[in-house]
């Protein structure tokens, strides 16, 4: 038995079966949720280095699998990452019935998770680029609902993500060439440029983020948010892999200055655009851009604290996106307009979804008592210690997002109250309420969440 079989081939095989039976939409959603939850729990409780007792017999788990002369490796260091990724999958699939996702969401979502785990397991990890591209290709039918034409956001997403692959592969080649010839400064610069461009395409870093607000507006928000939370998480871990493996990269001040500049511009511009936004789906797109910007800023600190803040930010980001996207999907499923001018009516039709989206916006903007604050506050403090200008711009970005939230709040209460039953179903109410409670609990008691998330960094022995 191999860990690779359990955490890559089994979910991928199940996803193929679910694609074949995709018309049984309720069953496929629950199977996908069950498989991801089971794999997350197994990764949490099974020790890869010891014998596994099953039905009274002991089995040894091998941690590698050979393919065409290369290795797929999932060892003990990857356990918390597996918990994170499969837990993230379970989180999204459990919410799928409430969001009313289309029939390809769960089967393709499971396939995407398996492929992305393979991209992090492959050694040498430079081969991850085509696997990430395969995951992007699989995601297209998930973003374009059956029977609908593809919009500009989807096409731009496909273009930018596909353009990222060649840059990463060529950057990987340049990195290997540097190991043979470390004195070649030109090659070093080229490697950083190629990798930087590849990561910029994949993480939707300025100026390649124009597809994000478009995509969140034209695809079902829940499907788009699944990708917005999963893809950047995996690409950030790939980036940390690069930094962990190549000393000259992690010792290069230019690389981290570039990250900081890109992160600052993303946070500031997304906040400023969000402040003037009148459409909730586009506001969601800008929230995603801002979160990516803050993650870049945390890594750009080039310190253990920065890395810890990056890891700690993953959970508030996941819950915030999930709650925001679920609220938007619930509103859409009730034919409620997502434009601010119609929100007064929306509040009286779907009050819980409206309030949940508001709480999500405020958490993403770093309001105290919500999950985003315990990560955002020390991050701004650390940024300010290094460069006060960067901290001020980051603060402006956060304030812009918060202003967008306040404008939404004002739009919600523009109409006179009317009486009536909430439009949401009981499962939707339960999930939305749970999301709001989780954001408050993680905001008031952040320590357990932060200490748990630090475990995902255990695989990066050389970093900082």
């Amino acid at each position: 038995m191999s860990t690779v079989t359990f955490w890559i081939f089994v979910p991928f095989g199940v996803s193929i079966l679910l694609v074949l039976f995709n018309r049984f939409i309720r069953i496929t959603r629950w199977i996908a949720a069950g498989v991801t939850l089971g794999l997350a729990l197994a990764a949490a409780f099974v020790n890869f280095d010891e014998l596994v007792l099953l039905g009274g017999r002991a089995y040894e788990l091998s941690t590698s699998f050979s393919v065409l002369g290369r290795q797929l490796v999932l060892n003990s260091n990857d356990r918390f990452f597996l918990v994170l990724v499969y837990g993230l999958g379970a989180f999204w699939f459990l919410g799928a019935p409430a969001a009313g996702t289309h029939r390809l969401f769960a089967p393709l979502g499971l396939a995407i998770i398996a492929i992305l785990v393979a991209s992090l397991a492959v050694e040498p990890f430079l081969y991850a680029a085509p696997l990430v591209e395969l995951a992007v290709l699989v995601s297209i039918p998930m973003l374009v609902a059956p029977g609908r034409p593809a919009g500009q956001g989807v096409l731009r997403y496909l273009i930018f993500m596909t353009l990222g692959m060649p840059f990463i592969l060529l950057g990987g080649w340049a990195l290997n060439a540097i190991e043979i010839n470390p004195a070649n400064d030109t090659l070093l610069l080229e490697a950083m440029l190629l990798l930087g461009l590849g990561l910029a395409f994949w993480l939707a870093i300025l100026p390649f983020y124009t597809w994000l607000p478009l995509l969140s507006g034209e695809s079902q928000p829940y499907n788009a948010a699944f990708l917005f939370s999963l893809l950047p998480t995996v690409v950030f871990f790939l980036m940390l892999n690069f930094l962990d493996a190549f000393a000259f990269l992690r010792n290069s001040p230019v690389f981290f200055q570039g990250l900081q500049l890109a992160g600052t511009i993303m946070v500031a511009t997304a906040g400023i655009w969000a402040a003037f936004q009148r459409d909730l789906t586009r506001l969601f797109g800008y929230a995603v851009i801002q979160e990516t910007g803050f993650a870049l800023l945390a890594i750009s600190l080039h310190s253990e604290t920065g890395l810890a803040l990056f890891a700690a930010g993953l959970v508030p980001r996941l819950i915030g996106f999930g709650l925001f996207a679920l609220s938007l999907s619930v509103m859409q499923s009730r034919n409620v307009s997502l434009r601010f001018e119609d929100e007064g009516l929306a509040f009286w039709q779907v009050p819980i979804a409206s309030l949940a989206s508001l709480v999500a916006i405020f958490s993403i903007s770093g309001l105290p008592l919500l999950a985003g604050f315990p990560v955002r506050q020390p991050l701004l403090e650390e940024l300010g210690a290094g460069s006060i200008a960067v901290a001020i711009w980051a603060l402006i970005g956060s304030a812009g997002m918060m202003y967008g939230g306040l404008r939404y709040l004002s739009a919600l209460f523009r109409r006179e109250p009317t009486t009536g039953q909430p439009g949401e179903g009981w499962y939707q109410i339960a999930l939305l309420s749970a999301g709001v409670v989780m954001l408050f609990v993680a905001g008031v008691f952040p320590t357990p969440m932060i200490s748990m998330m630090l475990n995902v960094l255990s695989g990066f022995a050389n970093l900082f």
């Binding site: 018309r23 049984f24 939409i25 309720r26 393919v67 065409l68 002369g69 290369r70 289309h102 029939r103 081969y127 085509p130 696997l131 591209e133 395969l134 290709l137 699989v138 297209i140 039918p141 374009v144 609902a145 059956p146 029977g147 609908r148 034409p149 593809a150 500009q152 096409l155 496909l158 273009i159 596909t162 353009l163 692959m165 060649p166 592969l169 060529l170 080649w173 080229e190």
Partner: protein, 195 residues
């Protein structure tokens, strides 16, 4: 590096096919040009790789072309933003600029990629023409063909520095996946139903 014999011929195939892909409004011509583009690319890669491995690129490209051909509706290439003559003229001028750029920078790229000048010109022309196609069109078929053209150029560059069978296989998988995505975007399947 010495130029292989007849090196201008695959380069001409690449130039003509990419120009046809950029200008043509008829899907049959586009698919034929797409197939010819892969012949040119295969020819060039065979200078760097064994014929057997290089043939993988040709077979993959033709399979992708076949998938796109059987799934396209008749209007898949129709442009709305350009008139036929002015649009064609504009595209021809931008294509000419791309060729000039390729001829200008290919020799300097030889310091990075150990390949013949015609080989690098072919790669740059493919990347440049593919990016033009991506920048000028909103039609899914044109976007997919543009992505294939860019990826072909990159594959040429990468083949000059790496001969990994796994990467060749994975990139072929990506190409076939891209063709299937293109087919999905073109076919526009039946409306949603739940059981």
């Amino acid at each position: 590096m010495n130029e292989p014999a007849w090196s201008w011929l695959p380069l001409t195939l690449v130039i003509v096919s990419t120009l046809t892909l950029l200008i043509s409004q008829r899907w049959r011509w586009s698919i034929i040009a797409f197939a010819i583009q892969y012949i040119g690319m295969f020819w060039m890669i065979s200078w760097e790789w064994p014929i057997g491995l290089a043939a993988v690129k040709l077979v993959t490209g033709w399979m992708a072309g076949a998938v796109l051909a059987i799934s396209q509706p008749g209007t898949a290439l129709a442009e709305t933003g350009f008139t036929r003559i002015s649009g064609g003229g504009f595209k021809l001028i931008t294509a000419a600029l791309t060729w000039v750029m390729a001829f200008a920078i290919a020799p300097s790229l030889q310091t990075l990629f150990p390949a013949a000048s015609a080989y690098l010109m072919g790669a740059i022309i493919l990347i440049g023409m593919g990016l033009l196609q991506l920048g000028m069109s909103h039609q899914p078929l044109r976007v997919i063909l543009g992505l294939f053209t860019v990826l072909s150029g990159f594959e040429l560059l990468y083949a000059a520095v790496d001969r990994s069978v796994l990467v060749a296989g994975l990139i072929s998988g990506v190409n076939l996946g891209l063709a299937l995505v293109g087919a999905f975007l073109l076919v526009n399947p039946e409306p949603e139903e739940t059981l």
